[in-house]
């Protein structure tokens, strides 16, 4: 008895309504309550500082990470239990409705009391074949359950759309869970000509199941393009090292490079100076490719550059530091043709030993590719810093995950299910006649006004030039 009651409660439409309202409330909380995923971990932690009440709600109750909070997951579980119960309860009746099994003439005659009913005098040239033709012309599949009765059904499989739409939630859920368990996200910055073999700048997410993807590539070329100061194109050509072969792939904004279950998104680009540090004898002490910050976040109106705008490059084991400034505000992003002549403003400093970390400037000025900065000022080491050339660097997000196919299948099933169920809704028509009169009755799952017009047109075709009257 208890099980039956529970089953009844779970399959009741009102239970679904309550759960949908609960889900809506959860989503509302997700927007209204500050979320760690939106603010970022640092800002989120800062917000909680000295606020025990906020900490209780956002951390202890998990409302600040709502998508993974126990409350939200509990509501989702209940929703899926309800969905499963409804699907099981409706499976049999839904499948039965899609079959055109024989129906009794008496049963169909009871339809005559229905609202959508039209009748007229029997046309002189009446023959049953015209009923079949008319019904088929309107997309109905016809059966003849009695001598003077035809039964037509249109879109009889439409109830299956209900099953498909609700099954799509399970596909989406399976996709979401698979992605959650397998998703790895890392970022990398690579200069043209450099090889990437797992040197992530930052790993944003480790997959609970599985490790980082087995991916190595060489960045062949970066193609940035600007129009009116706006980035209108960014592409990066990669040579991906596969099993004994090299495969070239192009990653563009909106169109990542794909390699198995891994995608490589190109998200940023800038200029990368190649610097040589040489001693007084002309021997190369160090050679580096620097992914320098290219755009300044400052206003360029005489204020000092923000500290994070300057790219600091330790050379020769950190004894010397090159400080590269971004391009001057208003300077267009250099095209590949301009790279050979673009000046880079930089300074070279060294920490003076025994002076409490004091820094001594060895050089300050601008260099173009091929030029060298003499480093012989004061007590600094004699030598020079050569700007060999400028290349482009590209910033990537490397993502490896599985379950995307389930997600896509879920979307497809959801849309198809809705169209199938709601647009191609099921309609039934019964045509019955005797010696004097022909009567057409029908019913439609939805949109009775639209169905009335369709029934009227069908009736007009059946009765030809005779005048019909509403019954």
């Amino acid at each position: 008895m208890t099980v039956r009651r529970l089953w009844k409660a779970f399959t009741a439409p009102r239970t679904t309504v309550v759960l949908l309202v609960l889900l809506a409330v959860m989503l509302l909380l997700n927007v209204v309550v500050p979320q760690e995923a939106v603010l970022g971990p640092d800002e989120f932690a800062l917000m909680l500082t000295g606020r025990p009440a906020a900490r209780f709600f956002l951390v202890t109750l998990g409302l600040g990470r709502l998508a993974t909070s126990p409350v939200f997951i509990a509501v989702l579980v209940l929703f899926f239990v309800n969905l499963s119960a409804v699907l099981v309860a409706r499976l049999g009746p839904t499948l039965r409705r899609t079959r055109m099994h024989e129906r009794s003439e008496q049963g169909l005659a009871a339809w005559a009391r229905m609202e959508e009913s039209l009748s007229a005098d029997l046309p002189a040239a009446w023959e049953p074949g015209r009923i079949v033709r008319a019904l088929q012309g309107f997309g109905y599949r016809a059966r003849r359950p009695g001598e003077r009765t035809f039964w037509g059904v249109k879109h009889r499989s439409a109830p299956l759309g209900f099953l498909l739409f609700h099954l799509s939630f399970f596909l989406l859920c399976a996709g979401g869970v698979t992605i959650y368990l397998t998703r790895f996200v890392g970022t990398a910055v690579v200069t043209e000509g450099q090889e990437f073999a797992g040197q992530y700048q930052d790993v944003l997410r480790y997959a609970p199941w599985g490790g980082p993807p087995d991916l190595s590539f060489t960045l062949d070329e970066v193609e940035p393009r600007f129009e009116a100061g706006e980035p209108v194109h960014l592409g990066a050509t990669l040579s991906i090292l596969g099993a004994g072969s090299v495969v070239r792939r192009l990653a563009r904004v909106n169109d990542p490079a794909r390699w198995g279950s891994t995608i490589v998104l190109v998200q940023a680009a800038g200029i990368a100076p190649i610097l040589w540090l040489q001693d007084a004898g002309g021997f190369t002490v160090d050679r580096v490719a620097v992914a320098a910050r290219t755009r300044s976040s400052g206003t360029g109106l005489g204020d000092e550059l923000p500290r994070e705008d300057v790219t600091e490059v330790p050379l020769a084991g950190g004894r010397v530091v090159a400080r590269i400034e971004p391009l001057a505000p208003g300077t267009p992003f250099p095209t590949r043709e301009d790279l050979g002549t673009t000046p880079i403003r930089l300074s070279v400093v060294q920490t003076v030993e025994g002076k409490g970390g004091e820094r001594q400037v060895l050089y300050e000025g601008s260099l173009r590719p091929g030029e060298a900065a003499p480093l012989s000022a004061g007590a600094g080491p004699a030598g020079r810093l050569v700007l060999e050339e400028l290349r482009y660097w590209a910033g990537f997000q490397i993502i490896d995950e599985r379950g995307g196919g389930l997600f896509m299948a879920g979307f497809l099933a959801g849309v198809l299910g809705l169209v199938w169920r709601l647009l191609l809704h099921r309609r039934e028509v019964v045509v019955h006649w005797d010696e004097e009169e022909v009567r057409v009755v029908g019913r439609s799952e939805y949109f009775s006004g639209h169905f009335k017009r369709e029934l009227g047109a069908l009736f007009a075709e059946l009765t030809d030039d005779r005048e019909g009257r509403t019954g």
């Binding site: 679904t16 309504v17 989503l27 997700n30 960014l234 904004v253 909106n254 896509m408 849309v415 639209h450």
Partner: protein, 274 residues
């Protein structure tokens, strides 16, 4: 927004406002002719509105999809187009009085943001963008028509007013069905919009879903309309009850289109920051 384009924009808004005012005046004071004239004004406004969209398209070289202003311009066009279509097809000219204020609200809000023309940045150069926003406009148009039909239904049946004739009964039934059909249309196109947006997000940001405020609010809005269909289909909510549901539900659409970034930060949906 200056010169001829700006002038045409404001003239269009004034015409729409006059049309809405005229329809309400005609209804309240029983001047049927005023209602007909107002519908003519909506048509005139729509012609000018179409010219504005074309102008912007030619000027920028791309479908107007960038920034709050362009989205409001084209989103408003879809609302007016669908209102006119529903009004003509279903013979409810008064529908414009219920649905057009939302177009005015959205377009007015768009005009207050940055209206300058910009090139199509790399992040927006995606086939999925067009699918996503096209279905968003269709969905919002459908929901607005549903809301308009619901409003007209509520006004016509206020204080328990009973229909005076069989024709009036049929018209009310038609309004009720229009609200339902528009909701169904909006819900299907909304589903496609969310799916297309999710696929686009995967290519652009690397994740199908990021719990971005605009994403979450869109899902919330979709859920509310799903709930309204559930109430109609399984619990039989019709007429005034259903009308109230679709009138209240439009708030979610307005917020997700326009309001989320006004009150909170952090959305990746740059189209809303103007």
């Amino acid at each position: 927004m200056t010169g001829g384009f700006g002038l045409l924009f404001w003239v269009t808004l004034v015409i729409y406002a006059l049309a809405v005012g005229g329809q309400i005046f005609g209804r309240v004071f029983g001047r049927r002719k005023m209602g007909t004239w107002s519908l003519g004004l909506v048509v005139l406004g729509f012609v000018l509105h179409t010219a504005l969209v074309t102008w912007r398209w030619v000027e920028t070289g791309h479908v107007p999809t960038i920034g709050n202003f362009e989205n409001a311009l084209v989103g408003g066009w879809f609302i007016v187009a669908m209102t006119l279509w529903a009004g003509w097809r279903e013979r409810y000219p008064l529908l414009a009085a219920g649905a057009l204020p939302f177009a005015l609200l959205i377009m007015g809000g768009g005009a207050m943001s940055d209206t300058g023309a910009r090139p199509l940045v790399a992040a927006l150069q995606s086939f999925w963008l067009y699918i996503h926003i096209f279905f968003a406009w269709l969905a919002y148009g459908g929901y607005t028509v549903a809301c308009g039909a619901g409003l007209v239904y509520l006004v016509r049946t206020r204080k328990g007013a009973k229909p005076s004739s069989a024709e009036e009964v049929e018209r009310l039934e038609g309004l009720d069905e229009l609200a339902f059909r528009s909701t169904v249309f909006g819900f299907i196109t909304d589903t496609i919009m969310i799916a297309a947006g999710s696929i686009w997000a995967k290519s652009l940001w690397g994740a199908y879903w990021s719990w971005d405020p605009v994403e979450t609010w869109s899902l919330l809005s979709w859920l509310v309309y799903g709930l309204s269909l559930h109430l109609r289909i399984t619990l039989g909510w019709r007429e005034r009850r259903f009308a109230w549901v679709v009138v209240v539900a439009i708030v979610g659409v307005l917020v997700s289109f326009w309001g989320v970034n006004l009150v909170m930060e952090g959305s990746l949906h740059v189209f809303n920051v103007g």
